[in-house]
Each structure stands twice: as C-alpha cells, then as structure tokens.
C-alpha cells in the first residue's frame, strides 16, 4: 500500500512540475507557434500524470473509472484542440518567426 502511495506522489509531483513548466513556457517562448508547442505538450502530459496519480489514490472504484474517462477524453481532445489552434492561426495568416537562414521557406497553405 505504501508503495502505491509513493508512486502516486511521484506522478502528482511530475504533473505539477510539468504544469508549472508549461506556464513558464508560454511566457518565455518568442512567438505563437513555439508557445503552442510548450503549452500543448505539457498540458497533455500534466493532465495524464495528475489523473494517473489521483486514480492510484482512489483505488479501484467508480471514482477511478471516472478519472479514467477524463484521462481518455483529455488524451484525445487536447492534441486535437492544439492542432485546431495551429491550423486556425495558419489559416488566419499568422507567420512563424524564423531566423535568416530559413526565411525563404514557403509556409503558404496547400503548396505541395
């Protein structure tokens, strides 16, 4: 039992650290697409780690089933929302910040 407690604490602390890293990331990165990268990855993994840790705390019950449902839904909907956000920004004409060497690369939609 104490082993399960320790593993769930590790999961919850990992989720907390990932969440704070994502919060710092959306302030430190320079443009929208890199902020999207920071927020999208950490959001999904933070939610996954938190929900696994909480599910270990509750044990096998209806509560952990509901936590598993939230986990499954967030695991699919969060990357979908990130993709929709990047697609909408791209369609809306927001250009990524590039350095000089890559600036001739064509980022128009449907070019290939």
């Amino acid at each position: 039992m104490i082993l399960i407690e320790i593993i769930s604490w590790i999961f919850i602390i990992a989720g907390a650290l990932l969440g704070i890293a994502g919060g710092i990331g959306i302030h430190r990165f320079p443009d929208f697409y890199s902020r999207l990268h920071a927020a999208g990855i950490t959001d999904t993994m933070c939610a996954a780690a938190f929900l696994i840790g909480l599910g270990m705390q509750t044990g096998v019950s209806i509560a952990s089933l509901k936590l598993a449902l939230i986990f499954i839904f967030l695991f699919f909907s969060n990357p979908t929302a990130t993709h929709a956000l990047a697609d909408a920004a791209h369609l809306g004409g927001l250009k990524p910040e590039l350095d000089e060497n890559n600036s001739e690369h064509n980022f128009d939609r449907h070019t290939d």
Binding site: A16, I20, G22, I26, I70, A81
Partner: protein, 94 residues
C-alpha cells in the same frame, strides 16, 4: 499534504496562463491560454474532489472537460469565419 502541493502548483499555472491571456499579442495566444486554464481547472476540480473525499465532484470535472473542448473549437470557428452559421468547407472551396 501532497494535494496541497498539487493544488498550489495548479493555481500557479492558472495564474501564469491568465497573465498570458491578458497580455497575449494575438487572439490565438489568448485562446491558447484559455484552453490551458480550462484543462487546469479540470485537474483542480479532480484534485479537490479526491482531497475532500467527495468523489461525486469528479462528474463536474468530466463535464468541464467536455465543455472546454467544445468551447475552444467554437471560439476558433468564430475567429476563423467571423460567424457561426457558414460551414468551413464552403468557404475554403471558393
């Protein structure tokens, strides 16, 4: 104890994301931050439900996760098209 740490970390993340939502130079930055706040709110409700041993409240977190996704997609559709009544495929094929 561990739940207090988790709640505090989630609240710090929510305040950082809210700062980005107020500062954000483009509208997409704001939507990104609001999406992050919504996800963290789901986690906050789930942590608080397990912390206070009222596990019925996890239902609220589940509903919030569903509404958050639909809300973000609806706001994106609104920003992209300017309205809710045209379908996106018709606009792109013109």
């Amino acid at each position: 104890m561990i739940f207090t740490v988790a709640t505090f970390a989630i609240l710090v993340t929510i305040s950082l994301a809210l700062a980005r939502a107020f500062m954000g130079p483009t509208v997409y930055d704001r939507i990104l931050a609001v999406n992050m706040v919504g996800t963290k709110t789901v986690l906050l409700i789930a942590v608080f439900a397990v912390l206070s041993e009222r596990t019925d409240m996890i239902d609220i977190a589940l509903t919030y996760a569903l509404i958050n996704f639909i809300g973000v997609v609806a706001v994106l559709k609104f920003v992209e098209q300017g309205n809710f009544f045209t379908s996106g495929e018709d606009e792109q094929s013109k």
